[in-house]
């Protein structure tokens, strides 16, 4: 089967999962959330095959242009959510996370994103492409879950819900932050040193990664050392995710950068 057929099937399953999740939320049937997760899981499996097919046909990592990286980021977000859900049971967060996933898939399938397989330019021909981009995006996928949990925190009506959402947000950051540091900054510096001869050039994408990193450093310090919890923590996590998304999209389209792979 072709990559685009698999991608479409995964997309449809994600949409179905989102519907089932929202139905479970509005009908107050927690059991349906399990079905939502199962649908997302099947979608994830097909999406995984789509990424493998893309890798095999293109001969390179499936995240070298915007279409590919959006698809990979959507995949990573489902993966991050599924991993956290299996551990901590998050039926209430599922609907909004899947909504983000569907939005990412829709953006990826939009005609604005060229889908052709283009051979790798010399700068991207390195195994660091795999390490740098995949680990960074998986880290950011966990930030996405923290973002959703934090947004829901701000609208939650009971103390019990708030406590749970606060702890989910923290746990997602606790996974995402080390991954982002390793993939985005550490692997990024190593690759920059190998490819450009300078581990740090104050390129706008580098600086925005640093900004994202500083915001999450702030999240941890205000939380652990100053005892911030709840509302203020949620706001910092939201800013952090937005900074990560600006690093990911904004820099490519709004600023000049050595990193403008669209």
């Amino acid at each position: 089967m072709t990559e685009s057929a698999l991608f479409t099937m995964a997309f449809v399953l994600y949409i179905l999962s989102t519907f089932v999740y929202f139905a479970s939320l509005f009908a107050r049937r927690v059991k349906w959330a399990g079905k939502g997760l199962a649908l997302a899981g099947v979608g994830l499996a097909l999406h995984t095959v789509a990424l493998v097919v893309r890798t095999v046909t293109s001969g390179h990592a499936p995240f070298t242009n915007m279409y590919e990286s959006l698809s990979f980021f959507a995949w990573a977000t489902v993966l991050a959510f599924a991993a956290l859900d299996l551990k901590f049971r998050l039926p209430k967060i599922g609907p909004s996370v899947m909504l983000i996933v569907v939005a990412l898939m829709a953006l990826a399938s939009s005609p604005l994103m060229p889908k052709d397989v283009i051979p790798l330019v010399p700068a991207l021909q390195s195994y660091w492409l795999w390490l740098h981009v995949s680990v960074t995006l998986i880290g950011e996928a966990f930030f996405a879950v923290a973002f959703v949990a934090s947004l829901l925190y701000l609208t939650a009506d009971t103390e019990e819900k708030r406590e749970k959402l606060d702890s989910v947000s923290y746990r997602a950051v606790a996974v995402g932050f080390p991954l982002f540091t390793l993939g985005g900054l550490v692997f990024g510096m190593i690759w920059a040193y190998k490819a450009w001869g300078a581990y740090w050039s104050w390129d706008s994408k580098e600086v925005w990664s640093l900004i994202t990193w500083l915001v999450f450093a702030l999240y941890l310090h205000t939380r652990i050392v100053m005892g911030w919890k709840g509302r203020r923590s949620a706001v910092v996590a939201i800013i952090g995710f937005l900074a990560a998304m600006f690093t990911y999209f904004g820099v490519n389209y709004l600023l000049t950068s050595l990193h403008s792979y669209r």
Binding site: Q125, T181, G197, Y199, W202
Partner: protein, 450 residues
């Protein structure tokens, strides 16, 4: 000491992190290191202010470096002032007063064990050691206190991250002061001195490989290192594959053509008689004799790789790429100039009958060859190794801080000769569910021994 106290504050750290974040944002909104004219055009009257505040070279500005310095001092003082108590917490001895703290733990259990406190302590120690706890004992009235800890490095995760960041900042300073970077533009066969080094490099060959679809697959420079004029190492340098020699790295940076001196091939013939066409090879600035048709000499005054008419209709090259190669050609019949005009490789018909000569002649720019040069970046960066060490500490520190949570079990033993009452208290800052099950398993197996 007031200064020490000031710098040991986490609030200061948070304040500095916010300032560094905002400064970094500003640095990406204002393009860095551009010309004064560009800033004037972009920001008008504000340009002067921006330059004075060093916002146009922000990341190298005195105030940004000062912020980083304050941040480094803050990090150092915070880490040092907290390390002592942490070391005691992780490696210090048990003490009789630990008994009181057991009452405060969330995870607690009370067991009755057979035998005197000493033998009960031995059994508990055995059980906890088998679970990789490190034990410390302290005596107390009618009993003892056991302090069992594991994954103690977890207490130092944040310190490792902070230490790593300090090393990275130090690496940045070393790179800034001792790093050397230069660009070497080399034609094939050319040799160049490497600045700050006592060896030379030679470009043996440069080639561009293309994909069948047309995109560039690789730029390959075959580079030889020369010591005292003798080649000691030859390697192909590609993007992502630098050559390394005695602390220097050579990167494929850019490439280009030497358009000052191209070899050209021009076809000249009569418009109405294709068989009269002659091929002439020459260089820019040359005027060569031609055996007809209708002319005696042909010359090329100028060549540009990417023809464009600039201000005042002046001919310029838009880029160094051969996107629209053009030659300014002149033809003579004896002493009379019969043709002068631009001809274009991509638009051969353009040379037909133009110029101030006879319309019957046609000129075609058939071929153009220029030597290619490759630009290698030669860099030596003694700070880089510090960066990698710092990264290692940061990464390991994150792992320790988030996933190597220390566990602590304190046991207070009280009793007489026949029976000992043991109170166990467990503490872990994270991963409490996993710890709870371990704690319960410990209590269960102690109970079973009875």
């Amino acid at each position: 000491m007031a200064v020490w106290k000031f710098f040991s504050s986490v609030k200061l750290a948070i304040f500095l992190i916010i300032l560094l974040t905002l400064a970094s944002v500003i640095g990406t909104l204002i393009p860095q290191g551009r010309s004064a004219e560009e800033y004037a055009a972009r920001y008008g009257e504000l340009a002067g202010l921006f330059v004075r505040l060093q916002l146009t070279d922000l990341y190298r500005s005195a105030w940004f470096l000062a912020l980083l310095f304050l941040f480094a001092v803050n990090l150092t003082v915070c880490t040092v002032s907290r390390i002592g108590p942490k070391l005691r917490r992780a490696f210090g001895p048990a003490s009789g007063t630990d008994a009181g703290s057991v009452a405060a733990t969330k995870l607690r259990n009370r067991l009755k064990l057979a035998g005197a406190p000493a033998s009960a302590a031995a059994r508990i120690s055995k059980e906890l050691s088998s679970r990789r706890y490190a034990l410390k004992t302290a005596g107390r009235e009618n009993g003892a206190v056991l302090l069992a800890r594991k994954r103690r490095l977890g207490w130092f995760g944040s310190d490792a991250v902070h230490f790593g960041l300090l090393i990275i900042l130090a690496g940045g300073i070393v790179s800034g002061l001792a790093g050397r970077r230069s660009h070497l533009a080399l034609l094939e066969g050319q040799t160049a001195d490497v600045p700050h080094a006592d060896f030379r490099v030679r470009l043996d060959r440069f080639e561009t490989e293309y994909y069948p679809e047309g995109g560039v697959k690789a730029w390959k420079s075959t580079v030889s290192v020369l010591e005292d004029g003798r080649p000691v190492l030859t390697e192909v340098v590609k993007v992502n594959h630098p050559l390394t020699y005695r602390g220097f790295h050579f990167y494929q940076s850019r490439y280009g053509w030497d358009w000052q001196n191209p070899k050209l091939e021009i076809l000249v013939g009569k418009m109405d008689d294709p068989s009269s066409s002659r091929s002439v090879s020459l260089k820019t600035g040359e005027r060569v004799p031609v055996d007809g048709p209708g002319i005696t000499h042909l010359g090329v005054r100028r060549f540009v790789p990417d023809f464009v008419l600039g201000e005042g209709n002046r001919v310029q090259s838009r880029s160094g790429e051969p996107r629209n190669p053009a030659a300014l050609v002149e033809a003579w019949q004896g002493e009379e100039r019969v043709f002068a005009g631009w001809i274009f490789a991509k638009f051969p018909d353009f040379g037909d009958g133009h110029g101030d000569g006879r319309a019957a002649l046609s000129f075609v720019l058939k071929d153009f060859q220029a030597a290619q040069y490759s630009v290698l970046e030669a860099a030596r960066d003694p700070g880089a190794n510090l960066i990698w060490v710092g990264c290692l500490f940061v990464t390991a520190g994150f792992f320790l801080a988030f996933y190597w949570t220390p566990r602590e079990i304190r046991v207070v033993l009280e009793g007489g000769s026949g029976v000992t009452e043991a109170t166990l208290g467990g503490f872990a800052s994270k991963g409490r569910d996993a710890f709870r099950s371990e704690f319960e398993a410990v209590c269960e197996s102690l109970r079973r021994v009875l």
